[in-house]
Amino acid sequence: MIRIENLHKSYVTGLNKLHVLKGIDLDIRSGELVSVMGSSGSGKSTLLNIIGILDNYDQGNYILDNLLIKEMSEKKAALLRNKYIGFVFQSFNLISFKNAMENVALPLYYQKVSLKKRNLAAMEFLDRMGLKEWATHHPSELSGGQKQRIAIARALITKPKIILADEPTGALDTATSYEVMEIFKEINDLGITVIIVTHEKDISEMTNKIIRLKDGFIESINGEKLLVDEYEKEYSHV
């Protein structure tokens, strides 16, 4: 489903150039439940943004569903995002002046689905999340867990192949976090690839595959070290 080869990405801010991803090789098969871990600045969010076609990269290849994603026009990128990928964010990113149902239905608007049909679909997905009664409420009237479930419903409504979640439990308490993770698992059981970026160990342990990033490299996959620590390398002969 996702193949990444020797991916490089750097940010230029003024005169400084920050090399964030320094050659990532990664394979994620269809239907995997993956977590990406790493301390802040390890490049995990950047990697997620590139996978989500929200950001471009400098070097290497990113192949999504046998399609090379490279130097894409914004229009094409938008189309692919809409078709393949559902996003879930830490800060929910719901549109404040739209109610729950309208928020969930929005991706279908960009697929030119008629109002009636998309509202019907939105209600169905809200029902699945157990939020049918909250359909006409605005995000400000909902709890964090409810908001995140609405965001997940929104991500699911286009029936994407991949769900990308950037710290989806970062703004939630532990109990709610676990509830949300249960939802992700259920989604994964339907065959959708789920990639979760997190820095919480207990969250990552609920996934099947844990990718650890460090300083722009993949440090380990499922605990198997790929990267030899610079420190260790230097002193291994001692």
């Binding site: 189309l79 549109i95 002046f97 309208e102 929005l106």
Partner: protein
Amino acid sequence: MFDIDKWQEIFSTIKKNKLRTFLTGFSVAWGIFMLIILLGSGKGLQNGVETQFKQDAVNSIWLWPGQTSKTYKGYSLGRRIQFTNDDYDQINNKIDGVEEISARFFTRGSGTIAYKNEYGAFDIISCHPGYQKIENASMKEGRFVNDIDIFKYRKVTTIGLKVAEALFKEEDPIGKYLNVNGIPFMVVGVFTDPNERDMTRIYIPVSTAQRIFNGGNKLHRLTFTTNKSAEASEQLIADVRKDFAKRHHFDPEDDQAVFIHNTLKEFKQFQNLFAGIRIFVWIVGIGTIIAGIVGVSNIMMIVVKERTKEIGIRKAIGASPASIIGLVLLESILITSVAGYVGLVLGVGLLEVLSSAMESVPFIKDPQADFSVAIKATLLLIFSGAIAGFVPANRAARIKPIVALRDE
């Protein structure tokens, strides 16, 4: 363009931001309102002045005699010039570009005019048939003084509507005899005139007046209309002056011997003045609208900034740059058009109120912006909405979703 969903999107955004939308719209509405008021009052002033002009023919040239102010070929200074029938014939037959012509012989003072027991003092004007066009008079009944009346020295008269009302009351005046300074004149017509005061006149044939009042072949005024342009009419006047100078023996450079007044030139000058005023009004009006556009653009810019995150979300879930541009642009056009339309309606409304309130004010008549102006203003509005929305929309489209999502 006519995508219901898109409009619903826009309306929901507008509904959430009523105050902002109102303030944005207000600046545009104000601009259009001012433009309409300015154009309307300009038009009103023009209408008023033109109406004053049109009480008489606007292409008429008036001649009246004066005294020589220069010695010429042995003739002394201060000599009075006297017009005669020859002058009338000369202009009528020899000068090119003359349409209607009339001379006047002045009867002394205003006459006492009586019918049965009704009396009144009215102006007695002696004239040729051409005078009807010169005065812009139109017949209500009967006919104007005609050539046969002149030729046969008939004692007939065409009377103003006010005279008819004052003397004849309910009676039909045609065929009745009026007593003019003791002499009976048969009424052959009743006329109306755009100028109220002119309707208190009676017109009699100039030849009859000359005979009755011992005028010989003397005349006091010559008036004619011309089909020439304003510039050519000046040449015509120069020719007439040269011709008069030759026959009346005065210096062609002497501008005191014969006075010539050209209403055509004056009318053209006024028309030019109003063309100038119109241009000025448009400049001021468009300036006001530009201020409105800048206002809208500015506010839309802030809106885009405020909505950076929302735009980012939309992009993340599949909005193309074009749909984002459409969203901002259409919102801008919608606000500008609706607000501008409100300004238009209010402006036209106020002009209507002013129009009826100022009916009695001279020099202002029908202050209104006409339909073509409304159309132009509408197009201007849509255009300005697009201009106002363009920069912010473009900026919105270039927002990278990733940057937008980080924006807190």
